[in-house]
């Protein structure tokens, strides 16, 4: 390959990741969204907040009754005017005002309790979604995209929050107003009511006819906004990569495409709902006209009073207002239902199988034994019938080529994944039958891909064990020489390390992850390439301290750094998922196999 410099290469064909197909992948993992089922479930969830939902129902009823009585009192007031009855006018006028006052109080209570119901429901949905993410099999995370998943819980949750907090109360009071108005109208004059309601079937038919389309439109808007969030979070996390390769323009173009999709699906949804809103207005006017004409005719024949007719007109408006509002809320209803369906899909994702979660509390007295164990990620075996024993207190080293299956083996020992063949037992009990969290409490891992949380170095070391004191951390840090690694930090171990620890050097990040494991003083220490990014001098200090620390503990150490091998007393060599050698350091060196070769390369000067 000759090296030439071409100056600016003209932009050639652009590969866009197949983002559309991701929706399909997602559908496959979550299953289709069932709006109707979601609605029923949502209602049940909301009613589980008993006190508040009871308050909502009562106040909605009171508000609706008060709200629907005032046109009546208006009508009666007008009748009093026409019959020159001033006492009646004052009486009905005051009644008119009183009804507003009643409404004021009941609405106030309703606003608060309905927000409580709505927000409690959303909180519980979000909490449950996150809770379930802790239970799904790990391989779930290999299939879904972080940004899309987050969007379900935040964006979609927000759409639901909008709807439940602001629109639903209106809908409920709207519907009850409609029902009560109709009953009063019937009571006042059933014939005129029939005329007034002549437009209703048209309204209902129209609404139902466009429903599927509206729903599809809103699913489109939710998906396209999720694609935007997903793309954004991926790109923000990959910003270094984008810059290194000058992919700014290409990335922006790709984003613009998703943005355009979102624009189009929004416009499509809006077009329909705007038309809907306008048509409803016309239907309303038709209803009013019918009342006026029919009322006029009946009035002439003395069947109706003017006051009643005025009340009817007001009722019709009162009646259509919520309907128009409903049509506006309908968009947000559809949007919310799609959203809640997407959250339920996370909640419903199947967790780890019960027989894998186990029920027996773990104890480690003798040994962990692996027998003819195999594991496969899909096609070939990543681990191919391995047998080994990890007696309590032993120190085992695992080495081998990259991709040999070392991390996979440690994942099985950590009970992150289930084997596909053979067995893993602890003190003779099948690992599957052991209750996972009790088992993991025996272990502290240093993962190959360490992860740091936002916060300080202390926060990350202590993590979920607030009982660990800072003194303990300080002591550990000094004895393992970590204090030297963090020597330059502005606020020592209190320095905040940025999102995912980005404001640290890689070696520092690894140091934190080692401290996090060591400070827990576990019975079993599983370390996967713990010092791969730490300089040899610091590593020597760590090892010296570690050899004392390890007394009485069990160690499983995966490493490419043979300087660490002095820590272990038994070495297992993996190759393509198989155990190819096992023995003590000197034995393996003498036998001249893979281990000897790798060791030779690294220590040759």
């Amino acid at each position: 390959m000759r090296l030439e410099y071409h100056g600016f290469q003209e932009r050639r064909e652009i590969h866009l990741p197949k983002l559309q197909t991701y929706d399909e992948t997602e559908d496959q993992y979550f299953g289709k969204i069932d709006t109707r089922g979601s609605l029923e479930r949502l209602i049940r969830d909301m009613f589980s907040f008993r006190n508040d939902s009871r308050q909502v129902i009562i106040t909605v009823f009171v508000t609706a009754v008060a709200g629907t009585l005032y046109p009546l009192s208006l009508g009666l007031a007008i009748n009093s005017i026409l019959s020159r009855n001033s006492a009646g006018l004052v009486f009905y006028g005051i009644l008119f005002l009183l009804l507003y006052i009643v409404q004021f109080f009941s609405n106030r209570i309703r606003t608060i309790s309905s927000t409580r119901v709505a927000q409690s429901t959303i909180k519980s949905l979000r909490d449950r979604a996150l809770g379930n993410l802790q239970r799904v099999p790990l391989k779930f995370f290999g299939n879904v995209k972080t940004g899309y998943l987050i969007s379900r819980i935040t964006n979609d949750g927000e759409a639901l929050s909008e709807f439940l907090t602001f629109q639903l109360p209106q809908v409920i009071s709207g519907i009850s107003t409609v029902v009560i108005s109709i009953s009063i109208m019937f009571y006042l004059d059933w014939r005129l009511t029939l005329y007034a309601l002549i437009a209703i079937p048209a309204l209902i038919g129209f609404t139902f006819a466009i429903q599927p389309r509206v729903r599809r439109n809103y699913l489109g808007t939710r998906r396209t906004i999720a694609a935007i969030t997903g793309n954004l979070s991926e790109n923000i996390n990959a910003i270094r990569l984008i810059k290194s390769f000058g992919a700014e323009d290409r990335t922006a173009e790709q984003f613009s495409k998703l943005n355009g999709n979102n624009y189009r699906s929004n416009m499509k949804a809006q077009r329909l709902s705007s038309i809907y809103g306008s048509i409803i207005r016309v239907i309303e006017a038709a209803g009013i006209t019918t009342v006026i004409i029919a009322g006029g005719v009946q009035l002439v024949s003395g069947l109706v009073t003017i006051g009643i007719m005025v009340a009817f007109v007001v009722y019709l408006q009162e009646f259509f207002d919520p309907v128009v509002q409903l049509s506006q809320t309908y968009t947000s209803y559809q949007s919310a239902m799609v959203g809640v369906g997407r959250i339920y899909a996370i909640i419903d994702t199947e967790g780890e199988k019960a027989e894998f979660r186990g029920s027996i509390s773990a104890g480690f007295g003798k040994s962990i034994d692996i027998k003819d164990m195999s594991f496969s990620y899909g096609d070939e075996n990543a681990i191919d019938s391995i047998s080994m024993s990890i007696p309590k207190g032993s120190k085992i080293g695992v080495v081998g080529h990259t991709g040999a299956g070392k991390t996979t083996l440690s994942n099985i020992i950590m009970k992150f994944i289930d084997t596909t063949g053979g067995s893993v037992t602890i003190d003779g009990l099948d690992l599957r039958s052991i209750e996972t969290s009790s088992y993991r409490k025996l272990i502290a891992p240093v993962l190959q891909e360490q992860f740091l949380f936002r916060g300080s170095i202390y926060d990350n070391v202590i993590f979920n064990r607030p009982d660990i004191s800072r003194e303990t951390v300080d002591r550990l840090s000094v004895s393992f020489g970590f204090d030297a690694i963090f020597a330059g930090m502005d606020h020592g171990l209190d320095t905040s390390i940025g999102e995912m620890g980005r404001n640290l050097s890689e070696g520092q990040r690894q140091a934190i992850s080692i401290m996090r494991a060591l400070v827990r003083e576990p019975e079993i220490l599983v370390m996967d390439e713990p010092t791969s990014q730490i300089d040899p001098e610091s590593e020597r200090v760590i090892m010296a301290a570690l050899s004392k620390y390890l007394a009485g503990r069990t160690l499983i150490l995966i490493t490419h750094r043979f300087s660490m091998i002095s820590l272990v007393d038994n070495i297992i060599v993996l190759d393509h998922g198989r155990k190819v050698e096992e023995g003590k350091f000197e034995e393996l060196l003498k036998s001249g196999g893979t281990f000897a070769k790798l060791y030779g390369i690294q220590t040759e000067v």
């Binding site: 090296l3 410099y5 652009i14 590969h15 208006l74 009093s80 005017i81 006028g93 008119f96 005002l97 507003y100 409404q103 004021f104 106030r108 606003t111 309905s114 909180k123 996150l130 239970r135 987050i150 907090t165 935007i228 954004l232 991926e234 923000i236 990959a238 290194s244 390769f245 000058g246 922006a252 943005n259 705007s274 306008s278 016309v282 309303e284 006017a285 009013i288 006209t289 003017i306 007719m309 080529h401 950590m414 969290s437 502290a444 190959q448 949380f453 936002r454 993590f463 979920n464 690694i485 502005d490 999102e499 520092q508 140091a511 300089d535 040899p536 020597r540 002095s566 350091f585 690294q602």
Partner: protein
Amino acid sequence: MSSNLFKKILWVFDPLLFSFKYISRKKWALYAVIIAAIISTIARLYVPLLIGDSVSSIENLDLRGLEYFAILIIVVTAISAAFQFIVNYGSQFIGQTYSFNLRNNVFNHLVRKSFSFFEGQTTGDLLSRTTMDIEASRNFITSTLSQLIPTIFMIVFGLYFLLTINWVYAAVFILSVPLMVYIGMVFQRKQRLHWRSIRGYYGRMNEELQENIIGQRTIRGFSAEEWEISKFMSTTDSYYQEYVQVAKLRGLYNNLLPLVLGGAATVILIYGGYSSLISSASVGPLVAAINIFTLVSPSVSSIGRLIVFSENARAGIQRINDVISEEYVEKLDRGAGAPLSSDLEFENVSFSRGNRKILDSLSFSISGGEFVGITGKTATGKSTLVNLMLRFYDPDFGSIRIGGVDIRSLPLTVLRRMISIVPQEITLLSGTIRENIAYGSPGASMDEIRSAADIANISAFIETLHEGYDTLVGERGITLSGGQKQRIAVARAILGKPQVLILDDSTSSVDPETELEMFRMIKSSLRGMTVINVTHRHSAMKYADRVFKLDHGSITLLHDESGMQDASGVSRIPGEEGDPSA
């Protein structure tokens, strides 16, 4: 005082002015919406008058008149509805066009921001700027057009129509409108702080979710599931509490509005009723007045809400402005053409973070085609040093030259094509292996991709996969082993045939044999390419022509090809990969 108030009123429309930039070519839509709003409003307000007239005709038993007015009601409503459609759809059109253009612009700026910008931000926060903040301003624009403008016309025309009926009705109206607007504003003021916290908690929710998804193994490994759940629950709880606080305010203020309306309507009813009772005038006008009142009031009370929208929008725009300002934006294409050679020279380069000096007056040079190793203790600044070469950061003092040209005078696109880096923390994107390798050169042929994979010593592995180069790797390369990820990143870096290749500890998860093979291939296949290999491993220096050691901000030559030590007498690399029997 009054000019102040006037300013405040104009302030409400500030976001609208901001939005003009993003709808420039669609201005006609704006005018259409405003005109349609006027027509539709007049038509809508005309309907109550017609209802009043028809009631009067009934009183007079004038059936013809009644018929006439009834038909007119339908016609006028239809006109109003048609124009209302233009208003609704048009304002959505403008709002969506605005958010589309703005979002593109934000993104364009975002990808061009320098690292220093991103170090001060969190993903969650940037996400909320590009979604929530844009949404907030769009919301304001859409509702201003579809509600505020019609409302203003509604008030004006409503007043006019009331005046034509009876001045007392108009006076009641004039008194109650400011009261309603005032209540709305007080309410908005009070709830603003709560909304700010709600947004804050929303951002935190985003962050915690991200940590929970990406850090899932760590969480499970430490049995921290319950811990994380309770952390998240406390965030959602704070979020909930804020919402309830807002509801308490809404419960009071929002419901005061209809009460004011009810009071005013009662006054009109009793006053109007009484006077027509005395004068035995028709009740038609009274009915019309009450009707106008009920029609106008909801829109009046929505003014308060629009004012909050405006405040939210302004806050959002401020945050968006941070992104779309030119600050921290890298100028990709500025500067002269490419230099002729790839000799690198560092002259007195210093770099500090806060008050910590990380690099202190470094001077050294690397000639084109050299294979150089850089070692040094953890956190001494090796990564910082190599990042300077790509201008991810600029030195505080001193200069870096490539082929004699200061890198600051090169277009960034040229510089970054000349120098390729495999960073210490590998980023793979969800997609196929092929897409990941070809990331920097999307037009690369399959042969080129394969040969890059060969050199990175990863092709053999890829070919064992069922789908070969088309195998999907999960997000962040979740389905690959540590060493496989690193080698794919190496293949990606060499595919573009850079003149300088920087490997920042890129073989830390690779076994010594594979590592050595990779370096051998790089050295033999990519002749003429300068390689800078940052590493802690002694064995990785085997192919290095020279090895530098970075220590406390200064750099020293450890040894060169001939095994010579540098003048300062620093010893050769001690037997760092210690003797296991020691």
